[in-house]
């Protein structure tokens, strides 16, 4: 086994798999990140950590009822 070509193919495999994983997780990570957004819009810039949207869901009776019904 020669060192160089093997390392090159491993590197490209890692880069490719990383890019695809990034693509696959992008919408989910954005969703998780911006559910903690301390602002009205779930878009950058991130304005700080807040649980206000969880509070809003918790206080919305219709949403909680829908959630229970679904589960």
């Amino acid at each position: 086994m020669t060192g160089k070509p093997v390392r090159w193919s491993t590197l490209s495999a890692v880069l490719y798999a990383g890019a695809i994983y990034g693509f696959i997780f992008l919408p989910v990570l954005v969703l998780v990140l911006f559910c903690f957004q301390d602002g009205r819009f779930p878009i950058p810039p991130f304005q700080g950590f807040s649980l206000r949207w969880y509070e809003a869901v918790w206080n919305d009776r219709r949403l909680i009822e829908a959630l229970v019904e679904k589960a």
């Binding site: 491993t10 495999a13 490719y16 798999a17 695809i20 994983y21 693509f23 696959i24 997780f25 992008l26 919408p27 989910v28 954005v30 969703l31 911006f34 779930p42 878009i43 950058p44």
Partner: protein
């Protein structure tokens, strides 16, 4: 007498086994399909549906430009999505099957399909946020100076295609991976023994042997993609309509069930032709 009874018993056997599946298919596929086929021949007069036998609804599809355009849009989007998804998923599945150590493969696969756990609708809306003009993709592109002005990605065909490709890359990675790990490693060793390099081994041994699996996955992608309503509705904006959206408009806005049924059946005809095309490919590769 005894023999007769026995024979009848034997003859009834297979039907008894088939009956549940048969009943299921008849009740939940054949009957609804026939109802739709009959309704597609009805007429809508004013706001009422009138039972009749007319092909007017089918003729409408060929006479009105926007129906044909929707079918063309659907076929284009589905073709782009199917090809892109296969091209992206194949190397990815190959890396998981070949480059990832055996004990990490399961984890790598689970990670690759983890977003399936979130709701399809929510994921579509999430893409809308990601692709928005002040969304994360545009901010990143502006940040590294690749573009001067935000690209209008959201509410376009590009967004629809990205949303679809995201879903089907996950699906196809699973099916192609399952195909790749089934290949006996001896084939590759034999090819290497006979002097083939990695590229020749791939082109002449691995690719032909996994092609049937790819085609099954591609067909699944085609069928699910061309019939999907949510992704184009959420991500596509109002610039162009795909067939499922046009069908929904017939029902939602006009309560025109006959036209909707006719369009649905025409879409099914297209899927049937696609199946015939794919089936020939798959069989061709097996002989």
């Amino acid at each position: 007498m005894m023999a007769n009874r026995q024979r009848r018993h034997v003859a009834a056997g297979p039907w008894a086994f088939v009956a549940p599946a048969l009943l299921w298919t008849v009740a939940f596929f054949l009957v609804p399909f026939l109802v739709m086929a009959v309704v597609s021949l009805w007429e809508r007069v004013g706001t009422d549906l009138v039972a009749s036998w007319t092909f007017a609804n089918y003729l409408k599809f060929f006479e009105r430009g926007h129906f044909l355009k929707a079918m063309a849009n659907s076929l284009e989007v589905t073709a782009i999505v199917t090809v892109t998804s296969v091209l992206l998923a194949y190397p990815f599945a190959w890396i998981i099957a070949e480059k990832v150590p055996a004990r990490w493969q399961r984890l790598a696969l689970v990670l690759a399909i983890l977003p399936f756990w979130t709701s399809y609708v929510v994921r579509s809306y999430s893409w809308l946020l990601v692709l928005a003009s002040n969304g994360i993709v545009n901010q990143a592109l502006l940040g590294i100076g690749l573009v001067d002005e935000p690209l209008s990605l959201a509410n376009s065909r590009t967004a629809t295609v990205i949303g679809f490709v995201h879903f089907f890359v996950m699906l196809l990675t699973l099916t192609i991976y399952a195909n790749l790990v089934q290949l006996p490693p001896n084939y590759r060793r034999a090819a290497a023994d006979l002097g083939a390099g990695p590229i020749r081994t791939f082109l002449h041994v691995i690719l032909p042997l996994t092609l049937p699996g790819i085609m099954v996955g591609a067909f699944l992608t085609f069928v699910l993609c061309i019939g999907d309503y949510i992704t184009p509705q959420v991500l596509g904006g109002n610039n162009e309509l795909l067939m499922p959206q046009v069908i929904m408009l017939q029902i939602g806005r006009r309560a025109d069930f006959p036209t909707a049924s006719a369009l649905a059946i025409l879409l099914m005809v297209v899927v049937t032709f696609a199946y015939l095309g794919f089936a020939r490919w798959i069989r061709l590769e097996r002989t």
